[in-house]
């Protein structure tokens, strides 16, 4: 039995691996919640598709490996099997993977096109804000309520930081810029990621399918404070969004007289409305 230790050992860890993947969702070692955008759902589906294919391959290869090892250790023959391989097998295991891989890659293309190719963006994608990444925060510029987002700053634009409010239920886009180095606009729950490249303005569209608060992080090393770039996308209904812009406008035009001073607590409303 001792000479079987190692085959068992090499069998044992793949089992652990599989198990860990099986229990992972239960242990909350999985995606940060279900995909909160239609595109995200497609991405998840692709992920699960690949996961299945990969899992099968993984199990298959390791079973094979374990089997040949097992057989190998108690190979009582005086000599090993003298073989230089099999042409047909080679053909077989070249064609099969090729087919699968080809399938996977072609199957993905349309999702990619939808996400990145401008002509394939969904109907009615409207730009809501300009997000400028800088070390180490997200500076956000909205058009004044009822206005369109201009490419250059306007005198009545509204500014805020780290807190991007958008209407949910329809595709919206942002103009993604970087003020200094390369950053990446990453919404884990929405499965959106796009680098902010210095010197370029990149339109990024996404659609929050439910109202709520989604984390916004930076996913491209941007310096010592890379981890500090904590922002959020706050998806709310149209009226709530309008309401927000108006509050922001009021706050921003505050002249110290005409209305009660916004104390810290009230600023926080924009920041912390409902984070229990």
């Amino acid at each position: 039995m001792v000479n079987k230790f190692w085959p068992i050992f090499f069998m044992f860890w793949p089992i652990l691996a599989i198990v860990s993947f099986v229990i992972a969702p239960g242990m909350d070692w999985w995606f940060p919640g279900p995909a909160m955008s239609p595109l995200g759902e497609q991405i998840d589906n692709l992920f699960y598709l690949i996961l299945v294919i990969v899992a099968v391959t993984f199990v298959g290869t390791h079973v094979a490996l374990g089997y040949v090892l097992w057989r190998g250790v108690d190979n009582k023959d005086q000599k090993a099997w003298f073989s230089h391989g099999s042409h047909n097998l080679e053909i077989l295991w070249s064609i099969a993977p090729a087919g699968i891989l080809m399938f996977i890659s072609l199957y993905q293309l349309d999702v990619w096109m939808e996400f990145r190719v401008k002509t394939h963006f969904p109907e009615g994608t409207t730009p809501v804000a300009e997000v400028t990444a800088r070390q180490f925060e997200w500076r956000i510029r909205y058009p004044a309520p009822g206005k369109k987002l201009m490419t250059t700053p306007q005198s009545d634009d509204l500014y805020t930081v780290n807190d991007l409010h958008v209407p949910f239920g329809r595709p919206v886009s942002i103009r993604l810029r970087s003020m200094d180095v390369q950053h990446a606009f990453f919404l884990p729950e929405l499965r959106v990621k796009q680098d902010a490249v210095p010197g370029a303005v990149i339109p990024v569209w996404f659609e929050a399918s439910k109202p709520g608060e989604y984390d916004l992080t930076c996913a491209e090393l941007c310096g010592w404070g890379h981890y500090k770039m904590r922002g959020r996308v706050f998806a709310e209904n149209e009226s709530g969004f309008e309401q927000y812009l108006e509050t922001l406008q009021a706050e921003q035009n505050f002249d110290g007289v005409t209305q009660p001073e916004h104390t810290g607590a009230q600023i926080a409303e924009y920041g912390i409305e409902d984070s229990q």
Partner: protein, 491 residues
Amino acid sequence: MNRSICIILFCAALPLVGCESGRAPSFQLSEQSQELSGFAKEKVQGELEAGFGTPSNLVVWSELDVDFGQYSGTVKKVGPRPGTLKIEGEGLAVASSLAGVRSLNDLKGAAVVVSSPSSVTESNDESSGEDGADASDARTSELADTSSGEGESESYRVASYDPASRLLSVVNENGVPAQLSVAKGDNVQILGPALQEGRNLYLRHCMHCHGVSGDGAGPTAQYFKVKPRDYRQGVVKFTSTKANVPRPSRDDLFRIVKLGVPGTYMPSFMLLPDEEVHAIVEYVRWLAMRGEMERKLNAWLSLDYSKEAVADMEEPAEEIESAFAEAWADEASDNITQFSEELQMDWQEADKEENVVVPPTERVPPSPESIERGRKLFQGNKAKCASCHGLTGKGNGPSTESFNDLPGQPGVKSDKAGLFDIWGNIVKPRNLTAGVFRGGRRPIDIYRRIHSGIKGTPMQAFGSTLNKEGEIWDVVNYVLSIPFENKQGGH
């Protein structure tokens, strides 16, 4: 043989996984204190440690009459386990006028004072009153008692507190569950929760730039073009307070932490929960007070007992030292009391309603006329904004080129031309065409900067100069219009 080898190798490798070195963050003495001669430096350090403690053992100092939050409750029953108390009613209640201390949870290690009802009833009544000052007066006087061990009161430290079960477990100074000499109905108080949580958050979020001692010289700061604020003079640039009120209000600090300072490395902490930001604000104020205390002690001692002063006295060293000892014995007590009064007064001033700059009139609508008037004032001889900010507001006025005098040191010239702030850094007058406003872009923010200047910088208070109706508003309107001057046509 192999066995032994691998054991040896394993031991050799242990350092790799060696446990924490046990080192803890520590406050550093300021440059001036370093200039003091040994014996004086000792005293200063001792005074600061006694009054403020170390980052890992903060001291709420009764001489420093500031509210750092307080939780209090009444003992329902002692036990079940040794060192645990059950708190009556809702559990620990906030007994403090301080905004930010509600629902702080990180109480571990905070000081607990358990005292018999008689000695504390009145302080409870008062601290529930609106006026924070009175409440804290009562409390601190009582703290003084507890510290000096009078009255039947005991100090422990929090091990844990569970709001749900209202079970508070405490340990004594040595960290072992305390043998409580506590009776039902005794009053329980947890001191300075805001300060403590603030310290934890500060060490995590702020220390790398602003430094453990708040000297703006954290390890990361060395790379910045725009240096982090050094709190130790108690001065911050962007305040809502009047020109003659030197300190920022709590709200000012809160805004800065929440919104960040565009155009600098100060990021926005918008998404930190309010309580945490409040706690950070409290800790920053406390650090500033510590720095000021050090500064005041220096101002007093450095004249006679700085290294160079001692060097050019003819008396022998021990004579000077004994002279110092006398002087210290004679004056320290009064001075320190006075210093702490001064700085509390400064910080209390800052939080008073009447010291916030409120424009007499509401904003003049940004009409072309108003903007034109603003331009005249900006460029004209009355305010002469242009001499620093330049005729077109690019921040390149003649003063930035022609002078290199360091502030507060007459005759001392810098090798670089420019304007300097009190921290010795060159400050560029803001380039107003960029549309980046560090102290906030609301009209009121800009109004206040014009009205009472930017503290610590050559940007002066124009409140008394632009005193005619709406003059400041005109300038504000002009300043806000500068970034768009050339784009107005297309708009």
